[in-house]
């Protein structure tokens, strides 16, 4: 066979648009997931038993079910239960938020609990309230240790957006499938899609590596 570059060029504008949607879902979803995950992780690490238990149940439910089931539930089941339609894009973003938050929560919990106890004591012994110890002593050290595992989660979540093709969100994979359905050029289209994913994840890796180098992992 011959590799028909013109197919790649012709489908590129649509694919780039799809990649844009992928980035939007991953970007907003991960920002929300990070926020929720940090909160849940700190609850797991430091909050009283009741809150800890609630966070644990949430994490177990989310980690224990496939993301594809989660997004189907949000998109198809919630409207039946509540009587309000959920926009596919909103469902996709929401799925990334809840899914990544569960994993990020455990990363955050681990990063904080692995810190030497002496750091907390040193802060408390200075007469700082615990929230200040957490914020100004523990967090800066924990954040540095969190960067490598967070990088993993970001890349995983970015690729997970390809599953949202099941609810017809016009992200990169869905766009590719639609192009494929009209021209049947599987090799060219799927190669182009793979390269676009690689560029996005590669860019993410590079940013993370740069941050790591700037921050001195401790």
């Amino acid at each position: 066979m011959t590799f028909d570059w013109s197919v790649v060029f012709d489908s590129m504008p649509a694919l780039l648009k799809g990649a844009g949607v992928t980035l939007e879902i991953a970007g907003i979803g991960l920002a929300g997931g990070l926020l929720l995950g940090v909160l849940l992780g700190l609850v797991r690490a430091y909050a009283p038993k009741v809150f800890n238990a609630i966070a644990l149940v949430y994490i177990e439910i989310i980690r224990g079910t496939p993301i594809i089931v989660q997004v189907m539930f949000i998109y198809f089941a919630i409207p039946i239960m509540t009587g309000t339609r959920v926009d596919a894009m909103v469902a996709a973003i929401f799925a990334i938020v809840i899914n990544s938050s569960a994993y990020i929560a455990e990363l955050v919990r681990g990063a904080f609990l692995a810190l030497p106890k002496g750091l907390t004591e040193a802060g408390l012994a200075m007469g700082m309230p615990f929230w200040q110890v957490l914020l100004s002593i523990l967090a800066p050290v924990a954040v540095r240790r969190l960067i490598p595992p967070l990088g993993n989660q970001f890349i995983t979540s970015l690729k997970d957006t390809s599953l949202f093709t099941v609810i017809s969100v016009a992200e990169l994979t869905r766009t590719g499938q639609e192009i494929m359905a009209t021209n049947f050029k599987a090799v060219e289209v799927w190669s182009a899609i793979a390269v676009l994913y690689l560029i996005m994840t590669g860019f993410l890796s590079a940013i993370l590596r740069l941050t790591e180098r700037k921050m001195r992992i401790l």
Binding site: P116, G118, L119, E121, A122, L124, A125, M126, G127, M128, P129, Q132, S136, I137, P140, V141, R144, R216, L218
Partner: protein, 242 residues
């Protein structure tokens, strides 16, 4: 006037009594050296003073404030009672200078410039002015401990508590730390030092406490005690240490 006042303090961990009805007061300017076998309760004794351990019975006043008080009372006590730990516990993401300036800025609310000037002068005092831009992992244990002492002094505490400050150090590094502690003592700082350094206890201490099984067995002038330890248990202990 007493700055630390133990009033029949009892501390238990579960069923085990660590401190048993300790009553004792420490005056300003005293250099109290606390010795005793491991597990005798000497570290707990020290950690009760700045409320890192909560007491079960009795009361304990530091500069007139009870360790059983409100969270803000406890923070006040901790600001007045600086602590130096066995494991230094420096902040690994900050340089020596930033470590020392940290408390002055965050706890005493000093301005950045003022805090860094104070930190610089304190590093000079502990003979580490030339290492101010080094991170803790670039310093030896003895240097780290001296930075930790400077970090505590930066809060301008009324009392300094030392929890086996040289136990994690090689013998040759201990001297530089003990030397700095001696200098701090000479400036009139009130100090409570849990240690196994008998020479320091004898030469620098003004009062010696020998704790065993949660009781203060000996409370006397260190020079007298080392010359003629009349308590048989202390004599036995000293013969093992020296």
């Amino acid at each position: 006037m007493s700055i630390i006042d133990f009033q029949s303090v009892t501390k238990r961990f579960g069923d085990v009594t660590i401190l048993d009805k300790i009553t004792l007061s420490i005056d300003k300017g005293e250099i109290v050296v606390v010795i005793g076998p491991s597990g005798s309760g000497k570290s707990t004794f020290l950690r009760c003073i700045n409320a890192l351990e909560t007491i079960n019975e009795g009361d304990l006043l530091v500069d007139g404030t009870s360790v059983k008080g409100t969270p803000s009372d406890i923070r006040r006590i901790r600001r007045e009672a600086g602590m130096v730990f066995q494991q230094f516990n420096l902040f690994p993401n900050l340089t020596a200078l930033e470590n020392v300036a940290f408390g002055a800025r965050k706890v005493r609310g000093m301005h950045k410039k003022e805090a860094f000037e104070l930190a610089e002068s304190l590093l000079e005092k502990v003979h580490l002015a030339d290492r101010k831009d080094n991170y803790p992992n670039q310093l030896s244990g003895g240097q780290q401990q001296r930075v930790a002492i400077a970090r505590s002094l930066a809060l301008k505490p009324q009392v300094m508590l030392f929890d086996e400050p040289t136990s994690a150090l090689d013998p040759e590094l201990r001297q530089e730390v003990l030397h700095v502690m001696q200098e701090v003592a000479q400036e009139g700082m009130t100090m409570v030092v849990v240690t196994h350094e008998m020479n320091f206890a004898r030469d620098v201490g003004t009062r010696l406490l020998f704790i065993e099984k949660g009781h203060i067995v000996v409370d006397d002038d260190p020079k007298k005690v080392f010359e003629n330890p009349d308590n048989p248990r202390l004599r036995e202990f000293l013969s093992c240490v020296e």
